[in-house]
């Protein structure tokens, strides 16, 4: 047990180093670009007049680089992230609110993806070379290569209110496709009407994200299980007369799952990239949608911390998967 604790502490230290690296990289990339940052980071709109001077003071653009860096670090750590130009609200509050909606979207689709993906992958692995395997693998690779924004637009055009299909068939379902709940309901509240509306608004975005990321899981599950199936101990188990079910549960899954957990975490960066596209297509007001708005408005205070929030989320997800991996894999405990 002490050994696991030691490994865990190391992982936490590594994660902390990585987060520090992201914060530094973010600083360097956004500031080393040509031009006066105070000016180029301010929208050229009369209503933002005076903002350049305010920024110069706030971010210390007139001070030497190392001093700017210290100011930046201090503000990052104390969560004093400034005020968004576009919304006039504290950046931290805005990002946490958006992150919540993004997590609802990513969470829903990830859970569905993992369940269906693992199921399809393990059936395909068991029926290797049979029609089910061939069809599911080919479909998987096909979906894997599909640009998520394109898939989103096709689903949008098919299922939105007033869709092309709905124009010809009156019985065709029309799903809400804009925003995260019906605007008519006003301020968000935890009641039935809001929850139902939010769930309905979640269907299309989550479906798009699920279809777009499903293959990543099912294909890896398949090859991971096939990898284990060719091991000698599976042949031995078969020779002992165990049923296929028993072999799968007692021998293949315990050995095939750990690499899956690692890959799901690695895949998360891809899923978040997909969520960005989905949010833009469906005007789902999460972090991705906010990013595009921030870019259009050159909302620098928001932009500079969107990268930090995204990076930290991925590092934390990887850390959690490392812990799960440690608890799942018996080999790590002894060796």
């Amino acid at each position: 047990m002490a050994r696991i604790l030691k490994v865990m502490v190391r992982k936490v230290i590594n994660a902390a180093i990585t987060i520090f690296g992201i914060i530094c990289l973010n600083y360097a990339l956004l500031r080393l670009m040509p031009g006066d940052p105070a000016l180029s980071l301010t929208p050229r709109d009369p209503k933002y007049q005076g903002l350049a001077e305010y920024n110069r003071e706030l971010f210390g653009f007139d001070k030497p680089p190392w001093e700017q860096f210290v100011i930046y670090l201090q503000r990052t750590v104390t969560l004093d992230w400034g005020i968004s130009y576009r919304l006039g609200l504290p950046v931290f509050d805005v990002l946490m609110r958006d992150l919540g909606w993004t997590l609802v979207l990513v969470g829903t689709s990830t859970v569905i993806t993992i369940v269906i993906g693992m199921l399809v992958g393990s059936i395909a692995a068991q029926k290797r070379g049979k029609p089910f395997d061939l069809v599911s693998t080919a479909t998987g690779i096909f979906l894997y290569g599909m640009p998520i924004f394109w898939l989103g637009f096709l689903l949008l055009a098919t299922f939105e209110k007033g869709s092309i299909v709905g124009h010809y068939f009156t019985w065709w379902p029309a799903l809400p496709s804009q925003g995260y709940y019906d605007d008519m309901l006003g301020q968000w509240a935890w009641d039935g009407a809001h929850l139902t509306s939010a769930a309905q608004h979640l269907i299309l975005p989550a479906l798009t994200l699920t279809l777009g990321t499903l293959a990543g899981i099912s294909l890896v599950m398949r090859s991971s299980l096939i990898d284990v199936m060719t091991e000698d101990f599976v042949t031995t188990a078969k020779a002992k007369g165990l049923s296929d079910r028993q072999i799968l549960r007692r021998h293949i899954l315990p050995n095939g799952l750990p690499p899956m957990v690692a890959l799901i975490a690695l895949d998360l960066a891809f899923v978040i990239g997909g969520a960005y596209q989905v949010e833009v297509v469906f005007n789902y007001y999460g972090i991705g949608w906010e990013t595009i708005q921030a870019i259009d408005n050159l909302d620098f205070p928001l932009l500079q911390f969107i990268i930090v929030v995204g990076g930290v989320a991925i590092v934390l997800a990887n850390l959690v998967s490392d812990f799960i991996l440690l608890l799942l894999d018996p080999r790590i405990k002894v060796s």
Partner: protein, 316 residues
Amino acid sequence: MGATEVVVRPRVVSPFQASLRVALRRMQVVWVGIRHSRTAMVGLAILVLFIGMAVFAPWLAPYGPIDRVADTSNCVPNISCPLSPPSAQHPLGISEEGSDIYSQVIWGSQISLIVGIFSAMVASVLGTAVGLVSGYMGGWVDEVMMRFNDVVLSVPWLVLMIIVAARIGTIDLLGLILVIGLTGWSITARVIRAQVLSVKERLFVERARMIGSSRSHILLRHIFPNAFPLIFANTILTVAVSILSEAVLAFLGLSIYNTVSWGKVINQAIGGGALVIGGNVWWVIVPGLCLVFLVFGFYLFGFALDEILNPRLRRR
């Protein structure tokens, strides 16, 4: 030809050339595997088709990528100037800017392929260098490189790319290739590092070390050739990812200004009202399908190659 003219010249072979030659010999074995894999051949056929489309685009496309074939100067988009639906002369219709969409789709294959292939090469060279050095050197070098790799892997690059581009204003072909290539090497580095770690322990490397071979010699002559097929398969898969990255960037509005790519065509189609009732759905569907099939081809070929090269996946 007199006998005196025959001069036996010792061939000077640089270590890198020799290393590459061993690698190419490995590739010949792989080619036999490809010929026997139906998946790989289907993938290859799709790739040949699209490469042909890109190479012969000047002859296949009736118009240039941004030529105006219809006068749209005095009409308000979507109101007094209804979109031209597909016709015999313009199989996919005419875009809002007055271009022939069929021609744009054909020209688009060039940008997708060029950006995909070259950024994958940038990413592969970088990732391979980092993976080889990190895996072989071990110790603190490995530690530092892997931490940096973690950082690169965790940064949401899509966002960063757009922010950088928004500040620079425009982007050209080289810029686009570098942006996608320089941000996409970290997974390659991890894969290569893992491979190096396993090759490093093999007997022939041990032997080379015992007879006093230098580190660079072992790295170039023994480890690189053994990892080369894997690097190749990985590059093919990276091409697919890079093509998708280009499309996503173009869809979000970051593209080269004086030409078209499939992502840009889709972007213009959405903006031009292709998906509303009475719109021109083919404007969105055809370039999207081209993207899907091209990426599908690269994935099929790449995965099949991976299966050929990775003996553990082979059927026993």
